[in-house]
């Protein structure tokens, strides 16, 4: 029983890390540009397909496909940001929601057209398969890998935001875009780079997540709620909030499906409504 509990916690944390790495870009863009982007999952899907195609068609090893997934999604992100998203920063939330739902529909249809409607096969390299015995507990090797990668990325992101000049510009722009522009920060460029970074991380998460989340054309719709939840519960624009929210979600979802499978995803939706009522601005959100 105790072993089960630890196992569930561990799986939940791995699942949460994945949610975190995909959603963190959404959290930053939402905090920075106040843009409700329902299409964020599409960037994750793009990264996932990049990984799968490189592995199955070109025989590239799994680890080498991950940077490519990042770059492909980041490029797609910046192209869309410069051409389309940018025009809607000042639009109402309704317009943004409709626009991004439109993008999701197009992404789903395009993925079906090019790659077919079925789940993509995924074979992890042998050294990431199977179980590893840690302190008498059998833990999935790939899940350990996930947690380590995400932990490293989180530290890197934190350092980027807190220690670098660019990070200071991002934080200033999140706090007050108008004043930052007045101080000579090129807010427009900060927006663009941040959006690309967020899309790239989503793509990376999509690649990492194929084994856990699966990959088929409905991916952006299926996990849209989860990504939005991480942002809504954590509070837009904070890394810490996103991390905490992703862990809560991951653990509750895995635990719910493990212990009470008959009510399935009910738990997560219930949790979401309760949390949104208790913290309308998110756990770490700033009150407007």
């Amino acid at each position: 029983m105790l072993g089960n509990l630890v196992g569930v916690l561990f799986d939940g944390i791995a699942y949460g890390s994945l949610l975190f790495i995909i959603s963190i870009g959404l959290s930053v863009t939402m905090g920075l540009m106040n843009f409700v982007n329902l299409a964020h999952g599409a960037f994750a899907m793009l990264g996932g397909y990049a990984c799968v195609l490189l592995m199955t068609r070109a025989g590239v090893p799994f680890l080498a496909t991950l940077p490519v997934a990042f770059v492909v999604s980041a490029i797609a992100g910046i192209v869309l940001e410069r051409t389309l998203y940018q025009r809607l920063y000042k639009a109402t939330h309704l317009d943004q929601v409709m626009f991004s739902i439109g993008l999701v529909f197009m992404a789903v249809a395009a993925a079906t057209y090019f790659f077919g409607p079925s789940q993509q096969p995924m074979r992890l390299p042998d050294y990431l398969r199977g179980q590893v015995n840690v302190f008498g507990l059998d833990l999935g090797a790939y899940r350990i890998f996930l947690i380590v990668v995400v932990a490293a990325l989180t530290v890197a992101l934190h350092l980027l935001l807190v220690r670098t000049r660019f990070g200071a510009q991002v934080r200033a722009s999140v706090d007050n875009a108008v004043a930052s522009a007045g101080l000579g920060i090129n807010v427009n460029r900060v927006f663009g780079v941040t959006f690309a970074l967020g899309s790239g991380l989503a793509g990376l998460g999509g690649g990492l997540g194929i084994d856990v989340l699966g990959l088929d054309p409905t991916f952006p719709l299926k996990y849209m709620v989860y990504f939005l939840l991480v942002v809504a519960i954590g509070g837009a624009g904070t890394i810490k909030g996103g991390l905490v929210a992703a862990m809560i979600l991951g653990i509750c979802d895995v635990a719910g499906k493990y212990y009470v499978p008959q009510i399935g995803s009910f738990i997560i939706y219930f949790l979401m409504v309760v949390l949104m009522i208790l913290f309308p601005a998110g756990l770490y959100g700033r009150r407007a």
């Binding site: 939402m30 409700v36 389309l84 025009r87 809607l88 639009a91 939330h93 309704l94 317009d95 929601v97 409709m98 626009f99 739902i101 439109g102 993008l103 999701v104 529909f105 197009m106 992404a107 789903v108 249809a109 395009a110 079906t112 057209y113 409607p117 719709l221 709620v225 939005l228 939840l229 942002v231 809504a232 837009a236 008959q262 009510i263 399935g264 995803s265 009910f266 939706y269 219930f270 979401m272 409504v273 949104m276 009522i277 309308p280 601005a281 407007a288």
Partner: protein, 331 residues
């Protein structure tokens, strides 16, 4: 545009007039004419009318009060199941079934309105989405009551007014739906052109200023959310009664998303926008999705992006802009 033309709206009466315009009468005449012109499409026609009513209910909260909801199907589904379950258990009288469906929708709307009026757009989006998904899961699990994934079958309806029974050609369904739609539309039209409706627009435009002029924002929003949920419940009840079946998809997220698309496509904040959007959307869906469902979704997505970028007011907004331009050239 000259200075004098911009000054005109300022002297126009602030309260919208409640008079029926010729174009409105023409619109309803078209709805009646469609009954005679396309007798083979009355089933589709009744579906359009029902979806139109559903879109009007969303317009009340979205177009007028500015509440972005991604889970309006919750009330539609509750109404559908309420009317359907009543009929399964022997209460087949349609009109009283609709009243129950509306009441169930209103009750659920009132109960959840307290959660929805709190928070900003994102929180509202998540709460409405969550409530919709929760109800979907609940209906899926309570298969003894709802039929679960197989849907609720065995809905046997009585005759409308004890005279007209529902038939396969959709004749009764069309006229029944049209009648209910018209009555509720008149009510909705009256609501939005009342001082209450005007205060909703004020809340949409500037929520901070409204309390300063004495409008209780929270209470107004709760009221309109409840009304909207009741109308959605009636629309759901209509669907259950006319199709004599309730499937799980009445609660589905696609239904809420499609509904928003129709409303935005037709033009939100006009009441007629929902009706026009529903008609265009459903006719297009009827003919295009047969070709290939995947292409349909792609073009739908593209259409949405284009509407948001270039035609914010939707179809009716574009027509209005065109009309204003023609009038502007004449003077």
């Amino acid at each position: 545009m000259t200075d004098t033309s911009t000054a005109v709206p300022a002297i126009a009466p602030l309260l919208p007039t409640d008079r029926w315009r010729a174009t409105e009468i023409a619109f309803w005449a078209v709805a009646i004419a469609a009954f005679f012109v396309f007798p083979q499409h009355r089933v589709l026609g009744s579906q359009i009318l029902i979806t139109g009513l559903f879109a009007v209910s969303l317009d009340l909260i979205l177009g007028y009060a500015g509440i972005v909801s991604l889970g309006h199907a919750a009330f539609f589904g509750l109404g559908a199941y309420a009317a359907g379950i009543l009929a399964v258990h022997g209460w087949g009288e349609p009109l009283s079934g609709l009243i129950v469906a509306g009441a169930v929708g209103a009750l659920a709307g009132f109960a959840t309105s307290f959660l929805v009026v709190r928070g900003a757009d994102l929180a509202r989006l998540m709460v409405t989405l969550g409530i919709g998904l929760m109800l979907f899961e609940a209906a899926n699990q309570m298969s003894s009551v709802t039929g679960g994934a197989d849907g609720l079958s065995g809905v046997t309806m009585g005759k409308v007014f004890g005279l007209y029974s529902f038939d396969l050609s959709g004749t009764t369904a069309y006229l029944y739906s049209l009648g209910v739609l018209f009555v509720l539309f008149v009510v909705a039209r009256r609501i939005v052109s009342s001082p209450f409706g005007l205060s909703l627009r004020g809340i949409r435009e500037n929520v901070r200023r409204m309390p300063a002029i004495g409008a209780p924002v929270t209470r107004r929003l709760i009221a309109i959310y409840t009304i909207s949920a009741a109308v959605a419940g009636v629309a759901g009840g209509l669907l259950a009664q006319t199709t004599q079946f309730v499937g799980l998809d009445v609660f589905g997220f696609p239904r809420s998303a499609d509904l928003m698309i129709m409303l935005v496509l037709g033009g939100a904040g006009r009441l007629y926008g929902g009706l026009v959007g529903a008609a265009v959307f459903m006719v297009a869906h009827h003919y295009l999705s047969d070709l290939n469902p995947v292409y349909w979704q792609f073009w739908l997505g593209l259409l949405l992006v284009v509407v948001v970028l270039y035609a914010r007011g939707g179809i009716l907004g574009a027509i209005e802009a065109l009309r204003d331009r023609i009038r502007g050239e004449r003077t």
